[in-house]
Amino acid sequence: MKNMSNQRKMIFILVSITSILGTSLASAAIAEPVIGIPVLIPNNPTMLSRINFSVDVSGDDITFVRINVEECNRKTGICYPFQNITMNKISDITFAQDVTLKHSDATYITYWVVVQYGSLWKDSAKTELNLSVQQPSDHNETNGSGNNTHIPGFELVVVISAVAVILILIGRKRYR
């Protein structure tokens, strides 16, 4: 009889432990968030333009949603460090953020959404978008501050001003 009672106690303890573990594991396993397709306004952006990204993300325990935007030039095969910007929650499931493109020679962008939920991460698929061609404008100027560092600009201005100042000084000395 005593053995039977001990057995029952053991079974009870085992069942309790299993159920406690099961409950805690179930609560720890958060469902993966569902990331919608990002919407861009304008949908045919140009280089250096400002784009509004919005995306629907549903799921539990979402810590933050980020938009990553990488600018690249297909001709030269260069990509610039991508911008990763936290998106603002604008409704129950919609997140949005404005991103300003930074590179005048970018020909396409790649963008994707990163969601942190609990301590985990989920990336959306990457989307590549060719940038619309803009008519040549002010951005084509070449001076010392431009991307082309081989064209002297401000340095020459400094040298010319220095020559002018020295000539004036020499002229004054002669005059005296």
């Binding site: 260069i78 990509c79 460090p81 990763n84 020295i166």
Partner: protein, 173 residues
């Protein structure tokens, strides 16, 4: 008068070298990086052979294309002559060792390309990227056996171009 001319001459000597051709310097490249297995390495530990230094990002599409060209370099050149080091300089952008491992696995599984040279990571501040890949990635350097820059280029490089530069450099040794 003489003082005026001397100061003007001095001024030109200081200013003109940077003005006429700022890209002609041939400095020695050295930095500290972390390998994929967590070791801290100094680039100068690899001096003694020609180094193809590839500064890249996992999320950079042209960098992936560059990998295929680097694989050809690795296949066609002796490792006693040329070694390749790829460093992910987009750690400050959120890339990490785990992403880089996934990237290498993807090459292995999808393209059957084993990228088995040294891979490393920049620090979280992006120190290497800021110093050596400020204009974007991929940025590639070919360094001579003393760590001096022999060739550098930002953007995708073809195998034939890289091979011609390596042949030039190796023939001088």
């Amino acid at each position: 008068m003489v003082v005026g001319f001397l100061s003007f001459f001095l001024f030109l000597v200081v200013i003109l070298p940077g003005c006429v051709n700022p890209g002609q310097e041939n400095p020695n490249v050295d930095f500290t990086f972390t390998t994929l297995d967590g070791q801290t390495k100094q680039l100068q530990e690899y001096y003694g052979t020609v180094i193809v230094l590839d500064l890249m990002g996992v999320n950079c599409q042209p960098c992936a294309l560059e990998m295929t060209q680097l694989k050809q370099i690795q296949t066609n050149y002796s490792r006693s002559d040329v070694i390749i080091i790829s460093v992910d300089v987009w750690i400050s952008q959120g890339e990490n060792a785990s992403l880089l491992r996934q990237y290498l696995d993807a090459f292995q599984q999808q393209l059957h390309l084993e990228l088995n040279w040294t891979f490393g990571l920049d620090d979280a501040k992006g120190t290497i990227g800021y110093a050596y890949a400020r204009s974007g990635v991929p940025t590639l350097y070919i360094l001579d056996t003393k760590g001096n820059i022999y060739y550098t280029h930002v953007g995708y490089d073809s195998y034939s171009l890289l091979a011609s530069k390596l042949d030039e450099l190796l023939s001088k040794a």
